[in-house]
Amino acid sequence: MLATTKPLPLGLAPLLAVIAWMSGVTPAAADAAAEAYVQGVLNEAEPILSETDEDALYDGLATLVDNYVDMRRVGLFTLGQYARKMTDEQKAEYLPLFKTYATQIYQNALSNYSGQKLAVRNSIDRSARDIIVNSKIVDAQPGDQFGDITVHWRIYRNRSGKMVVVDAGADNVWLAIEQRSQFTSVIANNGGGAKGIDALLAQLREQVGE
């Protein structure tokens, strides 16, 4: 059974920090600030996920995604090595298209949790600026399709300390990683380079119905 995370007694935290510093190792650790950030997002998601009207659900999720997911950063990540090869014109067209596309994906994925409540369980920092926060459905019933699934949030902290969501996943399967696989495949299979990027843009336009 998973242990619930309890806040450390306040007096203990500095002591642990000193021990970690003295031992000279920085093991993957939890990141309380990132956990609190994600819990905030999940609290905001709760009334949206309880919407019974589908349009209201999808609109609410779109707003949530718009507020917290850094689509520019995700969009550049999904281009892989091609991010640097894009012209400014291509980038100006790509980023809004990507945002529309990825928002739809997030809406579909999150609508699976309609009627459920998610809560943060723990977190692992890959680095001080790249943190994975894990969440699960609260009070999952035995029949719940997603009852056992861990929903991950990948949080990026920029140099000024501001946090954003850069990826979401379920049981170690990540959305942006899958999108990158698709996008780089489309570009590579259409001649790579500028020509491949144009092909990707055309397919994205078609996909989002523009």
Binding site: A28, R72, Q81, I124, R159, E178, T184, S185, Q203
Partner: protein
């Protein structure tokens, strides 16, 4: 019998090929670690882990056509003629029937605690779970997990080899395709040649097919609708999920691709900031 001989022959053939091609890194923990780290095909999305992309795409299209023409309609009939609870019972039954095979693979991987769980689940579910239709073991806190010989080979250090889409069976790798052949041979029912046993085998295969496909009708349709490149999308989902299975849930997130190396992205950030400052 012909089918069985073919499977046995194919497995034997794959063994010789796979042994020379795949086991060259066997036993090298660093190679295994590297393999666990490379979830993704080459960023170019082609070469790297999918050198057979041309063949694979054709096979994927073939499977997709068969899926649409046969499997999905069959799964829909199955859904229409059974109740949700019955389907759950059938899923439990099929999972329980796989337990001996999972147990063998647990042991071959040296996962004795998980082997104990598998054995415990099998005993509990076969007895008080009405022959496996129920899953009282889950309620008793013995979680279910799955294993196959492909995963065992991975634990032993065999690298997956190229990604391959098998006709009818779908996405796999050279290692896992070979593993599936071995699993067939490890299944006791495979070696019993009486008529009832043969019928049992065929019915089990048929029911497994619709039972696995039924809950995936909508999710797979969604992925197909939402993807620009269904093939690449499926490949990524498959590879990510497969890596999780092999790691037996002990993933540590260190092996995720970096979200761009940060220097590169900081540069973008700077650009963005300067643009905003203009």
């Amino acid at each position: 019998m012909i089918v069985k001989s073919l499977i046995a022959a194919a497995t034997g053939l794959a063994l010789t090929g796979a042994a020379s091609a795949q086991l060259s890194d066997a036993g090298d923990p660093e190679a295994f670690a590297r393999e666990l780290q490379s979830t993704e095909p080459d960023p170019a999305g082609s070469a790297g882990a999918d050198p057979w992309e041309g063949f694979n795409r054709k096979m994927f299209a073939f499977n997709d056509a068969v899926d649409g023409a046969v499997f999905v309609p069959a799964a829909k009939v199955y859904r229409a003629t059974t109740h949700k609870k019955q389907r759950k019972g059938i899923r439990n039954f099929l999972a329980n029937a796989r337990a001996p095979l999972i147990l063998i693979n647990d042991l071959l991987q040296g996962e004795f605690e998980r082997a104990g769980e598998t054995a415990g689940r099998f005993v509990v579910n076969t007895t008080i779970g009405f022959g496996g239709m129920g899953d009282p073991a889950e309620r008793m806190g013995i979680p279910q997990h799955s294993e196959d010989f492909g995963q065992t080979l991975a634990v032993w250090g065999a690298s997956p080899g190229p990604y391959v889409v098998l006709p009818f069976f779908g996405p796999s790798s050279v290692r896992d395709g070979f593993g599936a052949g071995v699993d067939t041979l490890l299944d006791p029912v495979f070696w019993i040649s009486t008529t009832p046993a043969r019928h049992t085998s065929y019915s089990r295969a048929g029911v497994t097919l619709v039972s696995v496909r039924e809950p995936l009708i909508e999710p797979l349709a969604d992925i197909k609708t939402n993807s620009l490149d269904y093939y690449a999308s499926f490949r990524s989902f498959y590879m990510q999920a497969r890596k999780r299975e092999i790691a037996n849930g002990r993933t540590n997130f260190d092996d995720l691709p970096d979200f761009g190396d940060f220097d590169e992205f900081d540069e973008f950030e700077d650009t963005e900031e300067t643009e905003e400052n203009k």
